[in-house]
């Protein structure tokens, strides 16, 4: 029987490319954009994408009525976070509304989200580091994981972000990337896997990662 893969839509930005990529790698599965709690509750796998600013993402998720269903799913179902969807899994983020110090996040993975501080630093070729970190960069696979199956170590994926996660527990880190310094670009814990990069925009190996998520049995 076909599985259901729910892409959580809490009204922030555009989920079409994530949907298209899953539809492409899993044409026989039921891929849906979930706007109701029961669509998450009835799903076999859940994908949490994200784009835009963290305070807006958290506010929209809370107001969407999907938060509780998502937290339930995070306890048992394979859950994939992408970009801001990865960052939301952490305890708190330094991306805030003016005057605030932290934005509270979902607390599913211990740690926090920080901004790149690269002002004044030069890249190897003498040019300045730019923020956002935008473009294709390599992932060092820090530990084995079924989601990495068939993806060579140091494969490049597409990034676009100004903030990055800092996990508290070293064992949660499954991928790292160098941009001014090494930062965590993929995390995993139990039934959760999450990436800072965009697999849906990372050509062949990005699609392979999504395919691996569809067959992952944590």
């Amino acid at each position: 029987m076909a599985q259901t893969i729910a892409i959580v839509d809490y009204g922030m930005g555009n989920l079409r490319s994530v949907y298209q990529a899953f539809h492409h790698v899993a044409p026989d599965e039921n891929v849906l954009i979930a706007r109701k709690p029961e669509e998450i509750r009835n799903a076999d796998r859940v994908v949490l994408p994200g784009q835009g600013a963290m305070p807006d993402c958290m506010k929209h998720l809370e107001e969407s009525g999907l938060l509780e269903a998502l937290l339930e799913a995070s306890k048992s179902k394979p859950l994939l976070g992408v970009c801001v969807g990865e960052q939301m899994l952490f305890d708190r983020s330094a991306e805030v509304r003016p005057g605030e110090r932290w934005t509270s996040c979902l607390g599913l993975i211990s740690g926090e989200v920080r901004r790149f501080e690269l002002a004044g630093k030069k890249q190897a070729d003498g040019s300045a580091y730019k923020v956002p970190h935008m473009g294709w960069n390599q992932i060092r696979q820090d530990r084995q994981h079924p989601i990495w199956n068939g993806i060579p170590d140091l494969t490049s994926f597409y990034f676009v972000h100004s903030y990055y996660v800092v996990p508290q527990r070293a064992e949660d880190v499954v991928g790292s990337t160098e941009y001014g310094a090494w930062f965590t670009s993929a995390v995993a814990r139990d039934n959760i896997f999450a990436t800072q990069f965009h697999p849906e925009k990372s050509a062949e190996y990005g699609l392979k990662l999504y395919q691996n998520f569809v067959s992952w049995q944590p």
């Binding site: 930005g13 555009n14 079409r16 490319s17 298209q20 990529a21 492409h24 784009q51 835009g52 600013a53 002002a119 890249q123 190897a124 070729d125 040019s127 300045a128 730019k130 923020v131 956002p132 970190h133 935008m134 473009g135 294709w136 960069n137 390599q138 490049s156 597409y158 990034f159 676009v160 972000h161 100004s162 160098e178 941009y179 965009h198 849906e200 925009k201 990372s202 050509a203 990005g206 699609l207």
Partner: protein, 252 residues
Amino acid sequence: MLTKRIIPCLDVTAGRVVKGVNFVGLRDAGDPVEIAKRYNTQGADELTFLDITATSDGRDLILHIIEDVASQVFIPLTVGGGVRTVADVRRLLNAGADKVSMNSSAVANPDLVSDAAAYYGSQCIVVAIDAKQTEAGNWEVFTHGGRTPAGKDVVEWACEVAKRGAGEILLTSMNRDGSKDGFDLALTAAVSDAVSVPVIASGGVGNLQHLVDGITKGHADAVLAASIFHYGEYTVGQAKEYMAAQGIPVRI
């Protein structure tokens, strides 16, 4: 290490890819979906579509084209041309664009940049700047496909849009566009060194060394080219091999 990006640019009108010289004299270069697939196979890092259609009929065509491309090509897609409102940004993102580029409308209404970035995030807002040299070391912003002087200094305008939330700048030298004489390297370096966001160099690529120069001498984060790829002079793969041999980090 972050790699430097190679971005083929597809000028689209009436459902076809075209290419002009100095913004005029258009030649047909083929079907957008087929061309997009070909560049993806060759290893393009992103694709940029510029809608150069003047009519609203033609405008809806690009939405269908982006939908078609986005369902078959899984790399970042930037779309620009005729973006006037936040609603236009939304329509393009919904059709499958990852980034939306604005040019004349940003000059006419700089709040459009701030509003679109605040709502959709800087990561998907690109400001395209068409620059014409007025004297050595000075460039003026032009709008409306290069026809109208905006009375703005290019470097100042680039800094302003970055501050307003643009996540990237697509910088085209009007003097060099279609010339095959190479990027305006002084222009590219002046802008890239002045802003904290990535800069895409555009306009004038005639050979593979021009791409290298755009990065090493122009300090660009990405290089955009059209005709050298459209007419099969070089593949994206050949461009990357050449750049890698010159010590530039590229995704092979």
